[in-house]
């Protein structure tokens, strides 16, 4: 009995720790400005006024922060374009490489594996200047492509690592059968192997997307105008503007978080399996 009760108190503490910071910010995003100064935990007179700033694309509102808020829809579209491209590149390059590493014994596979592991440990700040100069010399600054390429390279090693572990759990007999039936190795990969491994592919795809959505350093360096700026970079403008009311910032924060949050809830099981498998696999 006591054990049960203490378990639930323990669980409650964990839930409070995990949700309270975000819950407060979400509550504030529905408050009129004066309620924040009264240090409320719950909006007395809930309003969507903070959010309407963000969808007022044509608006002339002179409120502090409105100029940033107005650009949000465009920035979210930029983030979507970049994230989807990063996801696709990860899935194609990643599954090809992981398949070879998991299935086809070849000389140099250990070297490649170490190369991938090594590139995963390179910090972004270490290569930011050469990357910036590289993108500048190819005229790619302020384009989606520059951000897509940088995000793909830093997510790819993790993708390959996880997929390799996942692929090794699929029984070999499946492809043997396909090969006996006359498939080429590539045919066996595309027709038999990939369909079976869809859950793993979905997991790494979502990973890559969420990682790209949240990345900041390269996106900050490479993009300058709303033509390419993703939403994290736009949101960081709030950190530079001192007078923006926190209610408005909170609404923006919720908008940025919404998509990754929904995705992680929808694919909860796959994500947890994927991260867990990265160590045990």
């Amino acid at each position: 009995m006591w054990r049960r009760a203490s378990l639930y108190i323990y669980a409650l503490a964990a839930v409070i720790y995990l949700t309270l910071p975000f819950a407060w910010v979400a509550a504030v995003s529905f408050m009129p400005e004066r309620e924040v100064t009264q240090q409320r935990w719950w909006p007395e007179e809930p309003t969507i006024g903070n959010y309407s700033l963000y969808f007022d694309v044509e608006g002339q509102s002179a409120d502090v922060g409105a100029a940033i808020a107005r650009q949000f829809p465009r920035a979210i579209i930029n983030s979507l374009i970049i994230g989807s491209a990063v996801m696709l590149l990860n899935l194609t390059c990643g599954s090809l490489a992981a398949y070879a590493l998991a299935r086809l014994p070849f000389r140099g596979n250990l070297l490649l594996l170490l190369f991938y592991l090594g590139s995963r440990s390179v910090p972004g700040v270490a290569i930011m200047i050469p990357m910036y100069l590289l993108m500048r010399s190819y005229g790619l600054l302020d384009t989606h492509l520059s951000v897509i390429l940088s995000h793909t390279t830093f997510t790819l090693p993790f993708t390959i690592w996880i997929l390799k572990g996942y692929f090794q759990t699929v029984p070999l007999d499946l492809e043997r059968a396909a090969r006996v039936d006359g498939c080429t190795p590539l045919g066996a990969l595309v027709r038999v192997f990939l369909p079976v491994t869809t859950p793993g592919l979905v997991a790494v795809g979502i990973f890559a997307f969420i990682a790209s959505w949240g990345e900041f350093l390269f996106a900050l360096l490479f993009t300058t105008t709303i033509a390419s700026r993703p939403v994290t970079v736009l949101a960081s403008d709030f950190a530079q503007e001192l007078q923006v009311p926190f209610t408005v910032i909170a609404a923006g924060g919720v908008l940025v978080i919404l998509l990754p949050l929904v995705l992680s809830f929808l694919f909860q099981r796959l994500i947890i399996q994927g991260i867990g498998g990265s160590v045990t696999g």
Partner: protein, 309 residues
């Protein structure tokens, strides 16, 4: 040198397909990670300030000498070390506590597991902005901290003045707290996977032998988790040294230089002072530190035979 035998030739062509399959990934990583690292090193040996583009010349290890002699570097390194050490420690403890909880069966466990992903899904910049609010003048946590400082003052009859984020001590530790909050889920999931891999017979046997729950944790769970703890420790060490987006949004390096972690210092050096040579030397030092960690990581895993080629 022996004569090339036919089967040797055959295995050469057999090697071709897997290499081909790896080619796109390798090209991307060579172009955007390996090549920039090389360039970064080369530039770090030059005097290269964007303000004086006409004065770019080779001057050996001068940039490194300047950095190693500057108090800014040692300050940043010290802050990063403190930041990283505290973050690794707290992440391991909190994530372990939640993982052990999620391993128990109780009603609502699925809900807790779903909520676990909230901090993970939040981008670093937005996390920073969130904690600006939470710790700002009207923030929920600011009020709590104020009250607890007042309570401590009352209980011990002392007089600590709480100045919120204007205090270097509060700002640095708040940054650590926010960083830890976002890092806990990932570590927790790794721990949970490792705990679930422990054979249950061991617990049953221990229970039969009358082991206390602490002893069961100490002598069964912990040894089985050695590998997972190691992975999390190294992973979080790298993460700690990279902390940038959070600092950018939460403290902007301030107050003063209290939160000048090494990644922030490098960014400043490059894009505020436009000293690309010096900044590259900075980045190279970070690369060396993280690379050393990666090598230790790989070696430790290999020694335990946990990575197979």
């Amino acid at each position: 040198m022996t004569v090339l035998r036919p089967f040797h030739l055959m295995s050469r062509t057999r090697d071709l397909l897997p290499l081909l399959l790896n080619l796109p990934a390798v090209i991307l990583l060579l172009a955007f990670i390996a090549y920039p690292i090389g360039i970064s090193f080369w530039m770090s040996l030059h005097r290269y300030n964007l303000r004086r583009p006409d004065q770019v010349y080779f001057h050996g290890l001068e940039n490194y000498a300047t950095i190693l002699a500057s108090s800014e570097f040692w300050n940043a390194l010290w802050i990063s070390l403190y930041f990283t050490f505290m973050a690794v420690l707290l992440v391991i403890v909190i994530a372990m506590a939640i993982a052990l909880l999620l391993h128990e069966s109780f009603r609502g466990r699925g809900v807790v597991r779903a909520l676990l992903l909230i901090p993970w899904a939040i981008p670093g910049v937005v996390n920073g902005l969130m904690w600006v609010g939470l710790l700002g003048d009207y923030g929920a946590f600011n009020a709590m901290l104020e009250d607890s400082v007042a309570a401590v003052n009352y209980l011990f009859g002392i007089n600590i003045v709480y100045t919120g984020m204007a205090s270097p001590f509060v700002a640095l530790n708040a940054a650590i707290g926010a960083h830890v909050w976002r890092s806990v889920p990932f570590a927790c999931i790794i721990f949970l996977a490792a705990i679930q891999a422990i054979p249950t017979e061991q617990y049953r046997a221990a229970r039969v032998d009358g082991a206390t729950s602490w002893n069961r944790f100490r002598f069964i769970t912990l040894p089985w988790l050695y590998h997972a703890v190691l992975v999390v420790a190294i992973f979080e060490t790298m993460n700690g040294f990279r902390a940038f987006d959070l600092i950018y949004a939460l403290t902007g390096g301030g107050p003063g230089d209290a939160t000048h972690v090494i990644a922030w210092q490098t960014y400043k050096e490059a894009f505020a002072r436009l000293d690309f040579g010096g900044a590259n030397a900075y980045s190279y030092l970070i690369t060396l530190i993280t690379m050393t960690l990666a090598i230790i990581y790989i070696r430790l895993l290999y020694r335990r035979g946990l990575v197979q080629g």
